[in-house]
Protein backbone atom coordinates (compact mmCIF):
# COMPACT_ATOMS: atom_id res chain seq x y z
CA UNK A 1 0.00 0.00 0.00
CA UNK A 2 1.33 3.40 -0.91
CA UNK A 3 1.81 5.64 2.07
CA UNK A 4 -0.59 8.56 2.17
CA UNK A 5 1.66 10.39 4.62
CA UNK A 6 2.45 13.96 3.66
CA UNK A 7 5.84 14.93 5.15
CA UNK A 8 4.66 18.51 5.41
CA UNK A 9 1.95 17.57 7.88
CA UNK A 10 2.18 15.90 11.29
CA UNK A 11 1.61 12.15 11.30
CA UNK A 12 -1.91 10.93 11.91
CA UNK A 13 -2.26 9.39 15.38
CA UNK A 14 -3.76 5.93 15.67
CA UNK A 15 -5.22 4.60 18.90
CA UNK A 16 -3.98 1.06 19.49
CA UNK A 17 -5.23 0.29 22.98
CA UNK A 18 -7.19 1.64 25.90
CA UNK A 19 -8.87 0.69 29.13
CA UNK A 20 -12.53 -0.34 28.89
CA UNK A 21 -13.97 1.24 32.01
CA UNK A 22 -13.18 4.23 34.24
CA UNK A 23 -11.28 3.38 37.42
CA UNK A 24 -10.27 5.02 40.69
CA UNK A 25 -6.78 6.05 41.79
CA UNK A 26 -6.26 6.50 45.51
CA UNK A 27 -3.50 7.12 48.04
CA UNK A 28 -2.21 3.59 47.41
CA UNK A 29 -0.52 2.56 44.12
CA UNK A 30 -2.97 1.56 41.40
CA UNK A 31 -2.21 -0.96 38.65
CA UNK A 32 -4.19 -1.28 35.48
CA UNK A 33 -3.45 -3.04 32.23
CA UNK A 34 -5.00 -3.12 28.79
CA UNK A 35 -4.55 -4.91 25.50
CA UNK A 36 -2.48 -3.29 22.79
CA UNK A 37 -3.67 -3.99 19.26
CA UNK A 38 -1.48 -4.05 16.21
CA UNK A 39 -1.86 -0.85 14.21
CA UNK A 40 -3.87 -1.23 11.02
CA UNK A 41 -4.00 2.37 9.83
CA UNK A 42 -1.46 5.13 9.28
CA UNK A 43 0.80 3.91 12.10
CA UNK A 44 1.22 0.65 10.18
CA UNK A 45 2.03 1.92 6.74
CA UNK A 46 4.25 4.89 7.43
CA UNK A 47 7.30 4.75 5.22
CA UNK A 48 8.63 8.27 5.50
CA UNK A 49 11.48 6.95 7.67
CA UNK A 50 10.71 9.25 10.55
CA UNK A 51 10.64 7.36 13.85
CA UNK A 52 7.23 6.30 15.06
CA UNK A 53 6.29 7.81 18.38
CA UNK A 54 4.08 6.44 21.13
CA UNK A 55 1.88 8.56 23.36
CA UNK A 56 0.15 7.56 26.55
CA UNK A 57 -3.10 9.38 27.25
CA UNK A 58 -4.53 9.72 30.75
CA UNK A 59 -7.97 11.08 30.00
CA UNK A 60 -10.88 12.62 31.88
CA UNK A 61 -9.39 12.63 35.38
CA UNK A 62 -12.10 13.92 37.72
CA UNK A 63 -12.40 14.24 41.47
CA UNK A 64 -14.46 15.84 44.19
CA UNK A 65 -11.54 16.55 46.53
CA UNK A 66 -7.97 17.65 46.10
CA UNK A 67 -5.59 14.78 45.45
CA UNK A 68 -1.79 14.53 45.28
CA UNK A 69 0.16 14.39 42.05
CA UNK A 70 0.64 10.89 40.67
CA UNK A 71 3.67 9.44 38.96
CA UNK A 72 2.92 7.12 36.05
CA UNK A 73 5.08 4.05 35.32
CA UNK A 74 4.83 1.49 32.55
CA UNK A 75 5.15 -2.24 33.20
CA UNK A 76 6.33 -1.69 36.76
CA UNK A 77 6.54 -5.04 38.56
CA UNK A 78 3.96 -5.23 41.32
CA UNK A 79 5.42 -4.56 44.75
CA UNK A 80 8.69 -3.17 43.43
CA UNK A 81 10.20 0.15 44.43
CA UNK A 82 9.56 2.70 41.63
CA UNK A 83 12.78 4.51 42.52
CA UNK A 84 14.70 1.48 41.25
CA UNK A 85 12.97 1.61 37.87
CA UNK A 86 13.42 5.16 36.58
CA UNK A 87 13.45 3.99 32.95
CA UNK A 88 9.82 2.89 33.37
CA UNK A 89 8.74 6.37 34.37
CA UNK A 90 6.26 7.86 31.87
CA UNK A 91 5.38 11.16 33.49
CA UNK A 92 3.76 13.01 36.34
CA UNK A 93 0.10 13.94 36.74
CA UNK A 94 -0.28 17.28 38.53
CA UNK A 95 -3.80 17.46 39.98
CA UNK A 96 -3.96 21.20 40.41
CA UNK A 97 -7.51 22.35 39.61
CA UNK A 98 -9.02 18.87 39.44
CA UNK A 99 -12.06 19.84 41.55
CA UNK A 100 -12.80 22.86 39.40
CA UNK A 101 -12.30 20.91 36.16
CA UNK A 102 -14.78 18.30 37.38
CA UNK A 103 -17.65 20.75 37.70
CA UNK A 104 -19.67 22.55 35.04
CA UNK A 105 -18.61 26.13 35.54
CA UNK A 106 -19.33 28.86 33.07
CA UNK A 107 -18.41 27.46 29.69
CA UNK A 108 -16.36 24.53 31.07
CA UNK A 109 -18.04 21.17 30.39
CA UNK A 110 -16.49 19.24 33.36
CA UNK A 111 -14.29 17.07 31.18
CA UNK A 112 -11.71 16.86 33.95
CA UNK A 113 -7.96 16.81 33.41
CA UNK A 114 -6.31 15.08 30.47
CA UNK A 115 -2.58 14.43 30.05
CA UNK A 116 -0.62 12.97 27.21
CA UNK A 117 2.96 11.69 27.59
CA UNK A 118 5.48 10.81 24.91
CA UNK A 119 6.45 7.29 25.99
CA UNK A 120 8.39 6.35 22.86
CA UNK A 121 11.72 5.94 24.64
CA UNK A 122 10.19 4.11 27.61
CA UNK A 123 8.54 1.53 25.35
CA UNK A 124 11.67 1.16 23.20
CA UNK A 125 13.77 0.49 26.26
CA UNK A 126 11.24 -1.98 27.65
CA UNK A 127 11.11 -3.74 24.29
CA UNK A 128 14.89 -3.97 24.07
CA UNK A 129 15.01 -5.40 27.59
CA UNK A 130 12.24 -7.80 26.57
CA UNK A 131 10.04 -6.48 29.35
CA UNK A 132 7.25 -5.52 27.01
CA UNK A 133 5.58 -7.99 24.63
CA UNK A 134 3.68 -5.26 22.69
CA UNK A 135 0.41 -7.03 23.43
CA UNK A 136 -0.40 -5.76 26.89
CA UNK A 137 0.60 -2.60 28.67
CA UNK A 138 0.58 -2.28 32.42
CA UNK A 139 0.26 1.24 33.86
CA UNK A 140 0.95 2.07 37.49
CA UNK A 141 -0.14 5.22 39.30
CA UNK A 142 2.04 6.09 42.31
CA UNK A 143 0.74 8.93 44.48
CA UNK A 144 3.06 11.35 46.19
CA UNK A 145 2.76 11.52 49.97
CA UNK A 146 -0.54 13.06 50.99
CA UNK A 147 -1.85 13.77 54.46
CA UNK A 148 -5.47 12.79 53.87
CA UNK A 149 -7.63 10.38 51.94
CA UNK A 150 -7.58 11.00 48.23
CA UNK A 151 -9.61 9.59 45.37
CA UNK A 152 -9.87 10.54 41.72
CA UNK A 153 -11.44 8.82 38.77
CA UNK A 154 -9.57 8.22 35.54
CA UNK A 155 -11.90 8.00 32.55
CA UNK A 156 -9.50 6.16 30.31
CA UNK A 157 -5.86 5.34 29.69
CA UNK A 158 -5.02 5.01 26.02
CA UNK A 159 -1.98 4.36 23.87
CA UNK A 160 -1.50 6.08 20.53
CA UNK A 161 1.07 5.39 17.85
CA UNK A 162 1.91 8.29 15.62
Amino acid sequence: MQSPHDPNQPPIPEMVGATSEPFLIREAPTFISFDVHAPTGPALIRDDRTPRTAHLGIENITGKVDVPPFAVYLNLPEGSDPARHPFRYAGSLPMFGIVEMSQVRGHHPANGLTYRFDVTNVLLRLAVLKEWDARTLRVTFIPEPWPQAAEAQVGRVSLYFQ
Binding site: P4, M15, A18, E21, P109, N111, R156
Partner: protein
Protein backbone atom coordinates in the same frame (compact mmCIF):
# COMPACT_ATOMS: atom_id res chain seq x y z
CA UNK B 1 -8.08 6.55 -4.38
CA UNK B 2 -5.08 8.84 -4.54
CA UNK B 3 -2.73 8.99 -1.54
CA UNK B 4 -3.53 12.67 -1.09
CA UNK B 5 -7.27 11.97 -0.96
CA UNK B 6 -6.73 9.04 1.39
CA UNK B 7 -4.69 11.18 3.71
CA UNK B 8 -7.39 13.85 3.66
CA UNK B 9 -10.07 11.31 4.56
CA UNK B 10 -7.88 9.84 7.30
CA UNK B 11 -7.27 13.27 8.78
CA UNK B 12 -10.95 14.13 8.59
CA UNK B 13 -12.90 11.04 9.68
CA UNK B 14 -15.98 13.25 9.99
CA UNK B 15 -16.09 13.59 6.18
CA UNK B 16 -19.16 11.44 5.70
CA UNK B 17 -21.00 13.27 8.46
CA UNK B 18 -20.40 16.44 6.45
CA UNK B 19 -21.84 14.67 3.40
CA UNK B 20 -24.91 13.70 5.45
CA UNK B 21 -25.37 17.35 6.46
CA UNK B 22 -25.09 18.42 2.83
CA UNK B 23 -27.55 15.76 1.70
CA UNK B 24 -29.98 16.92 4.39
CA UNK B 25 -29.73 20.49 3.13
CA UNK B 26 -30.22 19.41 -0.48
CA UNK B 27 -33.24 17.29 0.44
CA UNK B 28 -34.83 20.11 2.40
CA UNK B 29 -34.19 22.58 -0.41
CA UNK B 30 -35.57 20.13 -2.96
CA UNK B 31 -38.70 19.83 -0.84
CA UNK B 32 -39.31 23.43 -1.66
CA UNK B 33 -38.84 26.81 -0.16
CA UNK B 34 -41.63 26.14 2.22
CA UNK B 35 -43.31 28.69 4.41
CA UNK B 36 -45.62 28.79 7.39
CA UNK B 37 -48.94 27.18 6.64
CA UNK B 38 -47.85 23.91 5.08
CA UNK B 39 -49.07 20.83 6.84
CA UNK B 40 -47.65 17.36 6.38
CA UNK B 41 -48.51 13.95 7.80
CA UNK B 42 -46.88 13.18 11.14
CA UNK B 43 -44.28 10.82 9.71
CA UNK B 44 -43.31 13.33 7.02
CA UNK B 45 -43.05 16.01 9.70
CA UNK B 46 -40.74 13.78 11.75
CA UNK B 47 -38.66 13.00 8.66
CA UNK B 48 -38.29 16.70 7.83
CA UNK B 49 -37.50 17.45 11.47
CA UNK B 50 -34.65 14.95 11.50
CA UNK B 51 -33.37 16.32 8.19
CA UNK B 52 -33.42 19.77 9.75
CA UNK B 53 -31.52 18.52 12.80
CA UNK B 54 -28.92 16.92 10.55
CA UNK B 55 -28.65 20.04 8.41
CA UNK B 56 -28.55 22.58 11.25
CA UNK B 57 -27.13 20.87 14.32
CA UNK B 58 -24.81 18.14 13.05
CA UNK B 59 -22.27 20.69 11.72
CA UNK B 60 -21.74 21.80 15.31
CA UNK B 61 -20.95 18.27 16.45
CA UNK B 62 -18.21 17.64 13.91
CA UNK B 63 -15.48 18.16 16.49
CA UNK B 64 -17.16 15.58 18.77
CA UNK B 65 -17.50 13.21 15.80
CA UNK B 66 -13.77 13.56 15.22
CA UNK B 67 -13.11 12.90 18.91
CA UNK B 68 -15.21 9.72 18.74
CA UNK B 69 -13.28 8.53 15.69
CA UNK B 70 -9.82 9.38 16.98
CA UNK B 71 -10.51 7.77 20.36
CA UNK B 72 -11.43 4.48 18.66
CA UNK B 73 -9.36 1.71 17.13
CA UNK B 74 -8.67 2.35 13.47
CA UNK B 75 -10.93 -0.43 12.23
CA UNK B 76 -13.79 0.88 14.38
CA UNK B 77 -13.68 4.54 13.42
CA UNK B 78 -16.72 4.63 11.14
CA UNK B 79 -18.68 2.36 13.47
CA UNK B 80 -17.86 4.70 16.34
CA UNK B 81 -19.10 7.67 14.32
CA UNK B 82 -22.32 5.82 13.43
CA UNK B 83 -22.88 4.98 17.10
CA UNK B 84 -22.20 8.55 18.12
CA UNK B 85 -24.64 9.92 15.54
CA UNK B 86 -27.34 7.42 16.55
CA UNK B 87 -26.95 8.47 20.17
CA UNK B 88 -26.90 12.12 19.20
CA UNK B 89 -30.03 11.96 17.06
CA UNK B 90 -32.08 9.94 19.57
CA UNK B 91 -32.93 12.87 21.89
CA UNK B 92 -33.71 15.02 18.88
CA UNK B 93 -36.06 12.32 17.59
CA UNK B 94 -38.01 12.54 20.85
CA UNK B 95 -38.37 16.29 20.43
CA UNK B 96 -39.25 15.74 16.77
CA UNK B 97 -42.20 13.54 17.69
CA UNK B 98 -43.54 16.31 19.93
CA UNK B 99 -42.92 18.91 17.21
CA UNK B 100 -44.69 16.79 14.59
CA UNK B 101 -47.63 16.36 16.93
CA UNK B 102 -47.77 20.11 17.53
CA UNK B 103 -47.58 20.73 13.78
CA UNK B 104 -50.94 19.04 13.41
CA UNK B 105 -52.41 22.02 15.28
CA UNK B 106 -53.35 24.96 13.12
CA UNK B 107 -51.77 27.58 15.40
CA UNK B 108 -48.29 26.24 14.60
CA UNK B 109 -48.82 27.22 10.96
CA UNK B 110 -49.04 30.92 11.58
CA UNK B 111 -46.18 33.42 11.71
CA UNK B 112 -47.06 34.00 15.35
CA UNK B 113 -45.80 30.52 16.31
CA UNK B 114 -42.17 30.95 15.14
CA UNK B 115 -42.21 34.52 16.43
CA UNK B 116 -43.18 33.23 19.88
CA UNK B 117 -40.59 30.48 19.91
CA UNK B 118 -37.79 32.73 18.67
CA UNK B 119 -38.75 35.06 21.53
CA UNK B 120 -38.70 32.11 23.96
CA UNK B 121 -35.29 31.16 22.55
CA UNK B 122 -34.01 34.68 23.21
CA UNK B 123 -35.21 34.49 26.81
CA UNK B 124 -33.84 30.95 27.21
CA UNK B 125 -30.42 32.05 26.00
CA UNK B 126 -30.16 34.47 28.90
CA UNK B 127 -30.57 31.72 31.51
CA UNK B 128 -27.92 29.79 33.43
CA UNK B 129 -29.51 26.53 32.32
CA UNK B 130 -28.76 27.40 28.72
CA UNK B 131 -25.15 28.26 29.56
CA UNK B 132 -24.72 24.91 31.32
CA UNK B 133 -26.33 23.09 28.40
CA UNK B 134 -24.05 24.90 25.99
CA UNK B 135 -21.02 23.82 28.01
CA UNK B 136 -22.36 20.25 27.94
CA UNK B 137 -22.17 20.30 24.14
CA UNK B 138 -18.37 20.13 24.53
CA UNK B 139 -18.31 17.10 26.83
CA UNK B 140 -15.91 14.30 26.15
CA UNK B 141 -16.72 10.77 27.31
CA UNK B 142 -14.18 7.94 27.63
CA UNK B 143 -14.70 5.22 25.03
CA UNK B 144 -13.92 1.55 25.48
CA UNK B 145 -11.73 0.21 22.64
CA UNK B 146 -13.58 -2.97 21.64
CA UNK B 147 -16.72 -5.03 22.12
CA UNK B 148 -20.20 -4.07 23.22
CA UNK B 149 -18.72 -1.61 25.69
CA UNK B 150 -17.29 0.36 22.79
CA UNK B 151 -20.68 0.52 21.06
CA UNK B 152 -22.38 1.44 24.32
CA UNK B 153 -19.87 4.19 25.01
CA UNK B 154 -20.25 5.67 21.52
CA UNK B 155 -24.04 5.72 21.93
CA UNK B 156 -23.68 7.26 25.38
CA UNK B 157 -21.20 9.85 24.13
CA UNK B 158 -23.58 10.84 21.32
CA UNK B 159 -26.56 10.80 23.67
CA UNK B 160 -24.75 13.04 26.16
CA UNK B 161 -23.98 15.58 23.46
CA UNK B 162 -27.49 15.20 21.99
CA UNK B 163 -29.22 15.88 25.31
CA UNK B 164 -27.04 18.92 25.92
CA UNK B 165 -27.75 20.10 22.38
CA UNK B 166 -31.51 19.67 22.86
CA UNK B 167 -31.37 21.50 26.19
CA UNK B 168 -29.45 24.30 24.54
CA UNK B 169 -31.36 24.76 21.30
CA UNK B 170 -34.90 23.35 21.69
CA UNK B 171 -36.82 26.66 21.33
CA UNK B 172 -34.69 27.70 18.38
CA UNK B 173 -35.31 24.43 16.57
CA UNK B 174 -39.04 24.44 17.34
CA UNK B 175 -39.23 27.97 15.96
CA UNK B 176 -37.53 26.83 12.75
CA UNK B 177 -39.88 23.85 12.50
CA UNK B 178 -42.91 26.11 12.94
CA UNK B 179 -41.78 28.21 10.01
CA UNK B 180 -42.31 25.11 7.91
CA UNK B 181 -38.52 24.56 7.78
CA UNK B 182 -38.06 27.92 6.11
CA UNK B 183 -34.58 28.22 4.66
CA UNK B 184 -34.26 31.76 6.00
CA UNK B 185 -35.17 30.69 9.53
CA UNK B 186 -32.87 27.66 9.34
CA UNK B 187 -29.96 29.74 8.07
CA UNK B 188 -30.63 32.27 10.84
CA UNK B 189 -30.81 29.51 13.44
CA UNK B 190 -27.52 28.09 12.21
CA UNK B 191 -25.89 31.49 12.43
CA UNK B 192 -27.07 31.81 16.03
CA UNK B 193 -25.74 28.36 16.89
CA UNK B 194 -22.46 29.10 15.15
CA UNK B 195 -21.96 32.18 17.33
CA UNK B 196 -22.46 30.04 20.41
CA UNK B 197 -20.61 26.90 19.42
CA UNK B 198 -17.66 27.76 17.20
CA UNK B 199 -15.77 30.55 18.98
CA UNK B 200 -13.58 29.62 21.94
CA UNK B 201 -15.67 32.02 24.01
CA UNK B 202 -19.33 31.83 22.96
CA UNK B 203 -20.52 35.12 21.51
CA UNK B 204 -23.74 35.00 23.45
CA UNK B 205 -24.63 38.66 23.17
CA UNK B 206 -24.47 38.57 19.38
CA UNK B 207 -26.36 35.28 19.37
CA UNK B 208 -29.05 36.76 21.56
CA UNK B 209 -29.33 39.79 19.28
CA UNK B 210 -29.64 37.58 16.20
CA UNK B 211 -32.34 35.48 17.87
CA UNK B 212 -34.24 38.58 18.90
CA UNK B 213 -33.95 39.83 15.32
CA UNK B 214 -35.43 36.56 14.02
CA UNK B 215 -38.29 36.93 16.49
CA UNK B 216 -38.80 40.49 15.27
CA UNK B 217 -38.88 39.40 11.63
CA UNK B 218 -41.64 36.90 12.31
CA UNK B 219 -43.55 39.35 14.48
CA UNK B 220 -43.50 41.78 11.56
CA UNK B 221 -44.57 39.03 9.16
CA UNK B 222 -47.44 38.20 11.48
CA UNK B 223 -48.79 41.73 11.55
CA UNK B 224 -47.56 43.35 8.34
CA UNK B 225 -50.28 44.39 5.83
CA UNK B 226 -48.27 42.78 3.06
CA UNK B 227 -48.60 39.50 4.90
CA UNK B 228 -52.34 39.99 4.85
CA UNK B 229 -52.18 40.84 1.17
CA UNK B 230 -50.21 37.67 0.61
CA UNK B 231 -52.86 35.74 2.48
CA UNK B 232 -55.58 37.36 0.39
CA UNK B 233 -53.72 36.46 -2.77
CA UNK B 234 -53.48 32.92 -1.52
CA UNK B 235 -57.19 32.89 -0.71
CA UNK B 236 -58.30 33.23 -4.33
CA UNK B 237 -60.29 30.14 -5.22
CA UNK B 238 -58.64 27.61 -7.51
CA UNK B 239 -60.56 25.04 -9.52
CA UNK B 240 -59.15 21.70 -8.49
CA UNK B 241 -61.34 19.46 -10.64
CA UNK B 242 -64.33 20.00 -12.87
CA UNK B 243 -66.82 18.13 -15.03
CA UNK B 244 -68.67 20.59 -17.27
CA UNK B 245 -70.54 17.98 -19.29
CA UNK B 246 -74.24 18.02 -18.31
CA UNK B 247 -75.64 14.70 -17.16
CA UNK B 248 -78.84 13.31 -15.73
CA UNK B 249 -79.62 11.88 -12.32
CA UNK B 250 -82.18 9.09 -12.34
CA UNK B 251 -83.70 6.65 -9.92
CA UNK B 252 -80.50 4.61 -9.88
CA UNK B 253 -77.17 5.63 -8.50
CA UNK B 254 -75.15 7.87 -10.81
CA UNK B 255 -71.37 8.03 -10.81
CA UNK B 256 -69.35 10.65 -12.60
CA UNK B 257 -65.66 11.35 -12.82
CA UNK B 258 -64.11 14.72 -12.04
CA UNK B 259 -60.73 14.99 -13.78
CA UNK B 260 -58.23 17.15 -11.99
CA UNK B 261 -57.56 20.46 -13.66
CA UNK B 262 -54.14 21.64 -14.77
CA UNK B 263 -52.02 22.62 -11.75
CA UNK B 264 -54.62 21.08 -9.54
CA UNK B 265 -53.89 21.31 -5.79
CA UNK B 266 -55.29 17.79 -5.24
CA UNK B 267 -51.82 16.14 -4.99
CA UNK B 268 -50.90 18.58 -2.19
CA UNK B 269 -54.18 18.52 -0.35
CA UNK B 270 -52.68 17.38 2.94
CA UNK B 271 -49.93 19.98 2.75
CA UNK B 272 -52.32 22.92 2.81
CA UNK B 273 -54.06 23.03 6.16
CA UNK B 274 -55.27 26.57 5.65
CA UNK B 275 -57.18 25.60 2.51
CA UNK B 276 -60.77 24.42 2.31
CA UNK B 277 -62.32 22.44 -0.49
CA UNK B 278 -65.84 22.97 -1.75
CA UNK B 279 -67.79 20.69 -4.06
CA UNK B 280 -70.28 22.59 -6.19
CA UNK B 281 -73.19 20.82 -7.91
CA UNK B 282 -74.61 23.48 -10.12
CA UNK B 283 -77.73 24.16 -12.14
CA UNK B 284 -79.87 21.21 -11.09
CA UNK B 285 -83.01 21.32 -13.20
CA UNK B 286 -86.12 19.19 -13.42
CA UNK B 287 -89.69 19.64 -14.62
CA UNK B 288 -91.07 17.21 -12.07
CA UNK B 289 -90.69 16.69 -8.36
CA UNK B 290 -87.65 14.63 -7.49
CA UNK B 291 -86.27 12.82 -4.46
CA UNK B 292 -83.31 14.07 -2.48
CA UNK B 293 -79.86 12.82 -3.39
CA UNK B 294 -76.93 11.92 -1.19
CA UNK B 295 -73.52 12.82 -2.61
CA UNK B 296 -70.46 10.66 -1.97
CA UNK B 297 -66.83 10.99 -2.98
CA UNK B 298 -64.79 8.07 -4.34
CA UNK B 299 -67.49 5.56 -3.45
CA UNK B 300 -66.49 2.11 -4.72
CA UNK B 301 -68.94 0.65 -7.30
CA UNK B 302 -71.82 -1.42 -5.87
CA UNK B 303 -70.75 -0.75 -2.33
CA UNK B 304 -72.92 -0.45 0.73
CA UNK B 305 -73.09 3.24 1.50
CA UNK B 306 -73.69 2.50 5.17
CA UNK B 307 -70.08 1.31 5.34
CA UNK B 308 -68.75 4.39 3.60
CA UNK B 309 -70.16 7.18 5.71
CA UNK B 310 -66.74 8.85 5.73
CA UNK B 311 -67.10 9.29 1.94
CA UNK B 312 -70.27 11.32 2.41
CA UNK B 313 -70.06 14.83 0.98
CA UNK B 314 -73.54 16.22 1.45
CA UNK B 315 -77.25 15.97 0.98
CA UNK B 316 -79.23 17.61 -1.86
CA UNK B 317 -82.92 18.19 -1.16
CA UNK B 318 -84.89 18.85 -4.37
CA UNK B 319 -87.52 20.96 -2.77
CA UNK B 320 -88.44 23.76 -5.15
CA UNK B 321 -86.57 22.36 -8.13
CA UNK B 322 -89.52 22.75 -10.50
CA UNK B 323 -89.92 26.41 -9.59
CA UNK B 324 -86.20 27.04 -9.84
CA UNK B 325 -86.22 25.40 -13.28
CA UNK B 326 -89.21 27.29 -14.68
CA UNK B 327 -88.24 30.56 -13.11
CA UNK B 328 -90.56 33.42 -12.57
CA UNK B 329 -90.38 37.19 -12.81
CA UNK B 330 -87.38 38.35 -10.80
CA UNK B 331 -85.89 34.87 -10.53
CA UNK B 332 -83.61 33.40 -13.22
CA UNK B 333 -84.04 29.86 -14.52
CA UNK B 334 -80.78 28.69 -13.09
CA UNK B 335 -82.12 25.72 -11.17
CA UNK B 336 -80.75 24.67 -7.82
CA UNK B 337 -77.11 24.85 -6.88
CA UNK B 338 -75.46 23.22 -3.88
CA UNK B 339 -72.02 23.74 -2.44
CA UNK B 340 -70.56 21.38 0.17
CA UNK B 341 -67.46 21.80 2.30
CA UNK B 342 -65.71 18.47 1.62
CA UNK B 343 -62.36 19.37 3.17
CA UNK B 344 -62.37 16.76 5.91
CA UNK B 345 -63.70 14.00 3.65
CA UNK B 346 -61.05 14.80 1.02
CA UNK B 347 -58.22 14.88 3.55
CA UNK B 348 -59.24 11.47 4.84
CA UNK B 349 -59.41 10.10 1.31
CA UNK B 350 -56.08 11.67 0.41
CA UNK B 351 -54.39 9.85 3.26
CA UNK B 352 -55.54 6.48 1.92
CA UNK B 353 -53.17 4.45 -0.25
CA UNK B 354 -55.65 4.18 -3.13
CA UNK B 355 -55.97 7.95 -3.41
CA UNK B 356 -55.68 9.11 -7.02
CA UNK B 357 -55.11 12.86 -7.23
CA UNK B 358 -55.67 12.74 -11.01
CA UNK B 359 -59.42 12.43 -10.68
CA UNK B 360 -62.27 12.42 -8.23
CA UNK B 361 -65.31 10.17 -8.43
CA UNK B 362 -68.63 11.68 -7.38
CA UNK B 363 -71.64 9.46 -6.73
CA UNK B 364 -75.26 10.56 -6.48
CA UNK B 365 -77.44 8.12 -4.53
CA UNK B 366 -81.15 8.74 -4.71
CA UNK B 367 -83.44 8.23 -1.77
CA UNK B 368 -86.35 5.83 -2.09
CA UNK B 369 -88.77 7.23 -4.68
CA UNK B 370 -91.77 5.61 -6.27
CA UNK B 371 -92.28 7.84 -9.31
CA UNK B 372 -90.04 8.63 -12.22
CA UNK B 373 -87.42 11.26 -11.86
CA UNK B 374 -84.93 13.00 -14.08
CA UNK B 375 -82.70 15.74 -12.79
CA UNK B 376 -80.27 17.40 -15.13
CA UNK B 377 -76.99 18.59 -13.66
CA UNK B 378 -75.17 21.43 -15.40
CA UNK B 379 -71.72 21.19 -13.86
CA UNK B 380 -69.86 19.67 -10.94
CA UNK B 381 -66.79 21.50 -9.74
CA UNK B 382 -64.30 21.15 -6.87
CA UNK B 383 -62.82 24.44 -5.71
CA UNK B 384 -59.91 25.14 -3.38
CA UNK B 385 -60.32 28.24 -1.25
CA UNK B 386 -59.90 29.52 2.29
CA UNK B 387 -62.61 30.38 4.80
CA UNK B 388 -63.58 33.98 4.25
CA UNK B 389 -61.89 34.02 0.83
CA UNK B 390 -63.55 34.86 -2.42
Amino acid sequence: MTPRLRQFLWRHPEWWTVLLCGAAWVTLLAAGWQHAGHQMPVMTEIWHWMLMVLAMMAPFTLDRVRVAAEASLWARRNRAIAGFLAGYLAPWLGVGVVAAWLRQESWTHSYAAPASFFAIAAVWMATTLHTRALAGCHRRCPLAPVGWRADRDCLRFGGTIGIACVASCWPLMLACAFTGHSVIAMAGGMAVSAMERWPYRPRQREAWQATAALAGIYVVLAILPSATAFAEQASKPVIAAVNSTPFTLGAKATHISLPASKNSPLPHINHRPEKRYFLGIENLRSEVDSPAFAVYLNLPPDSDIAKYSHHFAGHMPMFGIREATRGKPGFPKTGLTYRFDVTNALRRLASQPKWDPAQLRVSFITERWEGNTEVRVGQVVLVESVPGGQ
